[in-house]
Symmetry: C2
DNA sequence: AGTTCTATTGTAATCGATTACATTTTGAAT
DNA sequence: ATTCAAAATGTAATCGATTACAATAGAACT
């Protein structure tokens, strides 16, 4: 493998000069630059970035930890991250934690071991203290998820109010016996969306039947199973708000299995607005998050952290949007 | 930041000994090991892997380039890769090329720059010569995709025979006017599935109407648009074989939009068996690839390449499986 | 030509860990 | 106690690039 020193020899200059040409730093005359470039060309020189990274103590790479890469919601956030990262000379790598806290914390170790300069977490299933501690020493930004009372820079929507908004929507359509398929209760996201549901129910004097709150895990399967439970009740709900679209899709599948109709027999609302939400029939009423913007904002924040700039604002709460489609009966199909 | 040298000082041993404890190589007595571990603990030492990587000239990291991370087909292949990688002490990083050859070739540079030890490509949209050349110097494995007459180790199914098989299935159900929504013609995968379709048609003396072969790009949207074209024909097809499930789903959407029924009016078959294939109604008849096995086999091959072992076999063709569901009318719903 | 200042280039230390080779320690056998 | 081999540990070079600092070349001016 050709190394910088050999290029220097062929071009009859010092390694310093070659390095200056390579990384475009410092002054080099046009003539020597040409000479060096020619030598690189001739030798087909491929720089070993490990050398640079070790010396500069930076990798120009960031890591995004995603709970589920197959979910289009997260892949859109990623697009936002990438657009800002590339513009600033950073590479983006992805880690799929598969909704697993342990796997998540392993990805975090990449920071400690100097494999990446910063991390954007789209999931926070591992011990919150671990994340807090890490963010004392390294650049970490949380997006979509957040931690209560944390000083970690965060970009997200107001999950409570969004959940309240979509539950309100169901209530306005005349539903009073509304069930909720929640996210995991050990995750804030899950708790917040439940809280929004409860607030809407209480504010509209709808009774909250504890049987109508089943805990899911954001997976299609858990949505399906929870819905089966509701359908087995003597007095099933007339509407269901699922804490994400995948579970909502699972619920719809279960309802169809029982030869019932969405929205005529049971209305379904989701959360996230994944691609499938508008493909599936009936098209899913859901809450759209500003995915691209969440990603780009998170990356901007991370850039500031990596430059050790003072952040003027640490918590960004972006606007969501209620997507009224056909699964709740508000729009005719 | 604490470094190895400081640990050595605190433990009153040499850096060599600390390194031996750290990387579990060579002999160290239990007593000194304890001493070193205690010192590491006390200083909260976090090794900088860049040092090790530079010295050993390996990163113990591999990169998987995926054309579309949001597609569950690829995320399942990834699971297979990861399972073997982790067992062998390798980290897996993902790059999303977004079906873009240029982005793909940028990810390949990570090899040249020594950022990763090997690459598994689940896409081959960039210049084949570039990939060939790279694989002369570095460990590269191709999975799902392949290159004609290439010496690059490859794991895939026989796309031609699979496509023939599913087209045969449609023909056996009585269809003769069958359309194909193909993948991109600049990709072998697309050409192979088309070839399989043509073979089945010809062998069964079905006329191949060139109007009934539209080129898509594996996206939902292109499936939708192609189907719209077929529906606008005076004599639309009675069945459509789409070169992947996403396009098949797009086609179904278009059919439903026209208030027609799948499979009663038009039968639809897909390819890949993504999660949505069995969720959507009607459930999609498609070809299931052994995703996990493709991934694990590809990783095994890559391990051999990285160990510079001689490969006994370079081309692995795995068995696919026809998944007969409801979108072609073979099974009653 | 000589002086001064600046622009360019070179020398060598450096980043943090690993490891070839040298040295010391240990323990068993005599 | 002595010898010797094996085991443990230490010393210092090394990986490949970057960069602080030193040295030199070049330009501009008198």
């Amino acid at each position: 493998m050709i190394k910088l020193k050999e290029v220097a020899e062929l071009a009859s200059v010092s390694t310093a000069t070659v390095s200056r040409v390579l990384s475009n730093t410092g002054k080099v005359t046009k003539k020597t630059r040409q000479k060096v470039l020619a030598a690189m060309e001739e030798l087909n020189y491929q720089p070993n970035f490990l050398g640079r990274q070790l010396r500069r103590m930076e990798t120009k790479t960031i890591l995004v930890v995603v709970p589920d890469i197959a979910n289009t919601f997260f892949s859109k956030v990623l697009r936002g991250i990438e657009s800002v990262a590339i513009k600033n000379g950073y590479q983006v790598l992805m880690g799929d934690s598969q909704n697993n806290g342990q796997s998540e914390s392993q990805y975090l170790n990449h920071l400690r071991y100097k494999q990446v300069d910063g991390v954007i977490l789209l999931t926070a299933r591992t011990d919150p203290r671990l994340i807090e501690d890490l963010s004392d020493d390294y650049p970490v930004v949380l997006a979509c998820e957040y931690l209560e009372g944390s000083r970690i820079p965060t970009v997200s929507i107001d999950n409570i109010s969004s959940a309240r908004k979509i539950t309100d929507h169901l209530i306005k359509l005349g539903h009073r016996r509304i069930a909720h398929i929640s996210g995991p209760m050990n995750i804030i996201l899950g708790r917040d969306r439940l809280k929004g549901y409860e607030q809407a129910m209480t504010q509209n004097s709808c009774e909250i039947d504890q049987v109508l709150v089943q805990e899911g895990d954001f997976s299609y399967e858990s949505g399906y199973k929870s819905m089966e439970k509701y359908l087995a009740l003597q007095n099933p709900p007339t509407a269901v708000f699922a804490a994400n679209d995948e579970m909502a899709i699972g619920a719809i599948k279960a309802i169809k299995k029982h030869h019932l109709s969405v929205p005529n027999d049971i209305a379904i609302a989701g959360f996230d607005d994944i691609d499938m939400a508008s493909i599936l029939e009936p098209e899913l009423t859901t809450v759209a998050q500003p995915t691209f913007e969440i990603g780009s904002t998170a990356m901007e924040l991370l850039l500031c952290l990596m430059k050790k700039e003072q952040l003027t604002k640490k918590q960004y709460v972006l606007e969501d949007q209620l997507m009224v489609r056909h699964s709740c009966g508000a729009n005719k199909m």
